[in-house]
Amino acid sequence: MSTAPLGARKLDQLDREELLATTRRLLAEAQALSSRIAAVNEIGIAINRTFNLDKILQVVASQAKWLLDFDHLSVCLKDEHETWQVIRLFGDVEAITGRDLLQSENISFVLRAGQSRLIREAGSYTFLGQYASQIIVPLVSEVEVIGTINFARIAPQSYTQDDVRIGYMLGLQLASAIRNSLRVRELRQTQEALQRYAQELEQTNQELDTYNHTIAHDLKSPLAGILLNADLVKRISGDALPEKAEYYLNNIKTSTKKMSTMIDQLLWLAKLRDTSEALHSVNVRQVVESAVARFHHLIDEKHIRIEIMPDIPSALAHDQWIEEIFANFISNAIKYMGVDNPAPHIVIRGRCIGDDRARFEVTDNGVGIAEADQEKLFAMFTRLHTVKAEGLGLGLSIVQRIISRLNGEFGVESTSGEGSTFWFILPCGDADSLT
């Protein structure tokens, strides 16, 4: 008999017991981790319920103890001046500035490398030097280190790698919550700035409109005086008025009327800002006839044939606004008809596009507009000089403003020397109301 096998058996048994004990310990540790992981998830849910940074940090301050033990808990974040600050959530910390913070080897490593650091026995000269055990976890969001969360205990060797992993999981949740809160803060600031700007703009517009209105009215009174006086001079002088004087008087009257029209248009522009009145279904054919009637003298004088096509749909708008659009388009068509046009002709038509939009057109066979000039057409006070024509340059900008107020579209299709089609699209009025 030999003693060796007995010794080996004893050793085997000891090994097995030790192995079993170690396995049990490791299993228990692994199982214990599950409650800490569940707690991380809960903190994650709680901090993502709010966009308020103070509240986020308050939740972390009160709940982090369920993940890790600590005598000190803090986060390092940049303030609004981009300076690093330590925000203490629990326990003491010596006063430290952003500059000192970056000079601390541990913290600057974590901020630079984006990797957690486990310190088992910290030297007293480092950041949080009064605490021997530390875990410094980077707060990483969108590949950027936006800060750190720092756990510390007075006793050395207090933390393990498992603690670092738990701290890292919390760090990920916290970084995303902080990032969201900063984004929301930026958005709110931008929104407030935009609201302030919109209010200022609205106020400036109102002041401008009031100013416009006052000036226009003030300008109209002397014009009426000029017209009246010109008429009086003509009436008093009767046949005694020299021919040349009558010519000049007529010039005064024409210029005065032109100026009066210009002022009316300026008043129109100012008035268009007021959209308080509700839109209604406009009988467009009726409005077109009314607009054409404004120009009957010119139409007769220039022998222009006007054709209004049947089945013009209704539009959702104000009668006066639609009449103004057609009046502007017809006026332009007349002006740019060309002096030697043998058969001047204007066609007005409308049709439905789909279920809820309608397109209206004014087509002439006048001089047309060069492609390069078409873009400039709707700018205020722009008048194209391809031909000699009367105009004030405000008309199309009024059209532009009306159509934009009605959520419509407009444009021009034209070929130089062949004529133009000015068109606009608006929401339809009542269905089945073709006019």
């Binding site: 299993l27 228990a28 199982q31 214990a32 409650s35 992981i37 569940a38 809960e42 103890k65 033990d69």
Partner: protein, 180 residues
């Protein structure tokens, strides 16, 4: 068989009950209305009040929900009340707690591999529910030493109170355990 009718979600006609059911589905986190609330639908005002109390106790506050659920499991085990024991063990499992930890939580609490703070809180909650007169100032001091403030300690007592009530109610009406 429950002694009160279980009113299913699609059988609800009362608007208050419907509103409470909707809130439970949205906020409880399991996408269902547990039988305990379905059994209270015969009295909409009490259903609403009990749900509000449950929500305030379990779904808000600073003590993690997992810890509160563990207190509930320990109390239900002590009271031998099967409804809350089963439902909240399932809840803990859904929240990510390991089955092995949950088993030892019920069978051998002292050996349960939980951090000391959690174990102290569960012990305190169990005592508050089953033997409140045995709670001493030292027990309060112990929790405060572990970093809990008085508000958090109140959350533990409120949780103990809630589960005592739940156990008493579900046992009285012989409530069926939800099909989880």
């Amino acid at each position: 068989m429950s002694r009160f009718p279980i009113i299913e979600v699609d059988e609800v006609v009362d608007s208050k009950v419907k509103a409470v059911y909707d809130e439970i589905i949205a906020e409880l986190g399991f996408g269902i209305v547990p039988n305990i609330f379905k059994s209270m639908a015969i009295h909409p005002d009490l259903l609403e009040a009990n749900w509000k109390k449950f929500k305030a106790t379990m779904l808000t506050g600073f003590i993690p929900r997992t810890v509160k659920e563990m207190i509930g499991v320990a109390i239900s085990q002590a009271n031998n009340s099967q409804y809350a024991l089963n439902v909240h063990l399932h809840g803990l499992s859904a929240l990510g707690m390991s089955e092995a930890v949950l088993q030892t939580l019920v069978s051998d609490f002292d050996a349960c591999p939980l951090p000391e703070r959690e174990k102290a809180v569960i012990r305190f909650g169990l005592l508050a529910a089953t033997k409140p007169l045995e709670l001493s100032t030292a027990d309060f001091d112990n929790l405060q030493t572990l970093g809990l403030n008085l508000g958090e300690i109140y959350e533990i007592i409120a949780t103990a109170n809630l589960f005592t009530e739940v156990n008493q109610y579900t046992d009285a009406i012989a409530l069926e355990i939800d099909a989880l």
